[in-house]
Amino acid sequence: MRAVITVVGKDRVGILATVSGKCAENGLNIVEVTQSVLQDMFCMIMLADIGEMEISFSQFAENLKKMGAEMNMDIHCMHEEIFDTMHKV
């Protein structure tokens, strides 16, 4: 079971560190990261294992969203299953 975390916003120091810090804090193991910076827009997609997660998925997603708002970034955390269901026949 994995979570897909997407982060979009204006580039600044420490985005990756902050988000991955939050993951570590809650017991998520980051499996894969892809990121790009287009001009000054930062876009990152993270795949994290939630097998050992210590809080509920929805609580974690909510926390990330709040953290994103504080950082002026758009952060989404969604279950991998939704993407598999939608995009694979």
């Binding site: 892809t34 795949l47 929805s58 989404h76 299953e81 993407f83 269901t85 939608m86």
Partner: protein, 452 residues
């Protein structure tokens, strides 16, 4: 890893294009609650509903949080109450409506549907009492929806019931005139009603259904429209293909939510209703999809053809995405709930006559249309008869949900707020059908061969 574009597409569908699950509806059979003592029957109804749906809202919120897809409404549909009322001779069925209201408040669900009667061929005990109590029941409750099936392809049209419903619709509006005639917005008259519909106001739990089941209704006109926007200038085969692909994705989410809800609540999965249900929010309109296909405004010539393409493609795309498809499945065209329709009706481009033509190819019928408050019950009955005839002859579900705007005339606005939206009072042809409607009797079931 999952394709980056797919991830971004999903997020933009939810964030910008209003993709959501319109409703998770639990269907509950009340056949085991029938009792000649109405108070005892009500107690059984309350106990059964609150027992089966106890965790509905909590589980839906849990799934919403996990998947990141909003679940807008949590609803319940029950066995047509006329069947329970049949056993309680001489007592007002409104007690059942109040019981359902109490249950909906206790559970925190948005609507309970099933204050209904099925009279396509005639009135059984309980049916008339229930129909006559509808206006009162809708005026003393907030979360109860009512429907009456007055015709079917196999039974024909019960014109005695059609005649009665004209008065009932008007009375439902009159009794709630101080609340924007909301009573009539919670009442729908059907031909060929389906037994597993999760959408309001027409949801009820048919007698052929299991004891309880989960039916999910999806939404997403905004998603279809923005997918189409990427195919400008391409031919209509490409348009149909694009709609099919999008409907597939939307329905898959519905299936996922339905499966999860079913597992967690321990209630069997029923169906996914793959309807395109608009909301008054900008960018969530079925009319705008038709306009995206190349019409200047919804309601002009070409609208029926565009809607037929849309309705069919939605079904084709959705069918493969779900284990069981049912309900009303198709494109809804509720006028007050659709920003594009409201606009077209206000400018006069969309008329009631055009809407009638459109209903021949959409998924339901004349839906959420405001008509002048002084429209006679006979005209409303005749409008119902016209729609029922289209449904009966074409073997499709048809419905009429019109709201006589008491005290208002053509051009005035009637506003309900929330998902029900607002819209102009539309012109209706008032040439009298009085004699025709008061003949009563039945319109015989149509021939199913010699299709011309």
């Amino acid at each position: 890893m999952i394709n980056t574009n797919d991830i971004l597409e999903t997020i933009s569908m939810i964030e910008q294009e209003h993709l959501d699950i319109r409703t998770v509806t639990i269907g509950i059979s009340l056949l085991d609650c029938i009792d000649p003592d109405i108070d005892r029957a009500c107690q059984k109804v309350y106990d059964k509903i609150t027992r089966i749906a106890a965790r509905q809202v909590a589980v839906c919120e849990e799934i919403e949080g996990e998947l990141g897809v909003p679940i807008i409404n949590k609803r319940i549909s029950v066995t047509p109450i006329s069947m329970l009322a049949a056993a309680c001779h001489g007592q007002s069925p409104v007690k059942f409506a109040l019981t359902l209201e109490k249950a909906s408040r206790a559970l925190g669900v948005d609507f309970i549907g099933g204050y209904s009667a099925l009279v396509q061929k005639g009135f059984a005990p309980g049916d008339l009492a229930l129909i006559e109590s509808i206006p009162e029941a809708l005026s003393v409750t907030d979360h109860i929806c009512s429907s009456v099936n007055i015709g079917s392809t196999r039974a024909g049209i019960n014109m005695d019931a059609v005649c009665k419903m004209g008065y009932i619709v008007k009375e439902a509006a009159r009794l709630t005139a101080d609340r924007n005639c909301i009573g009539a917005a919670k009442l729908v008259v059907f031909c060929n009603a389906v037994e597993d519909n999760p959408f309001m106001a027409g949801a009820f739990h048919g007698v052929g259904e299991a004891d309880c089941c989960i039916n999910v209704g999806v939404s997403g006109p905004g998603v279809v429209r923005s997918a189409l926007a990427k195919h400008k200038g391409e031919d209509l085969s490409a348009v149909a293909e694009c709609i099919k692909r999008t409907a597939f994705k939307i329905t898959r989410i519905g299936q996922l939510v339905a499966t999860r809800a079913s597992e967690r609540l321990g209630i069997p999965f029923g169906i996914v209703d793959l309807s395109l249900a608009p909301t008054p929010a900008v960018g969530d309109s079925v009319a705008h999809i038709l306009e995206e296909m190349g019409l200047e405004q919804c309601g002009g010539c070409g609208t029926t053809a565009a809607l037929a393409l849309l309705n069919d493609a939605v079904k084709k795309g959705g069918v493969m995405a779900s284990g069981h498809v049912g309900g009303l499945s198709g494109a809804f065209i509720p006028v007050t709930e659709d920003a594009g329709m409201i606009n077209a009706a206000t400018t006069g481009c969309l008329t009631l006559e055009k809407l009638e033509a459109m209903t021949a190819v959409c998924s339901v019928g004349l839906d959420m249309i405001n008509i002048p408050g002084d429209t006679s019950p006979e005209v409303i009955s005749a409008l119902i008869a016209d729609e029922a005839a289209i449904g009966m002859v074409n073997s499709k579900t048809m419905a009429v949900r019109v709201i006589p705007a008491i005290g208002k005339k053509v051009g005035d606005t009637l506003s309900f707020g929330g998902l029900l939206g607002e819209g102009p009072v539309m012109n209706i042809n008032t040439a009298s059908p009085h004699e025709f409607i008061h003949r009563g009797g039945r319109i015989p079931a149509p021939l199913q061969s010699l299709k011309n």
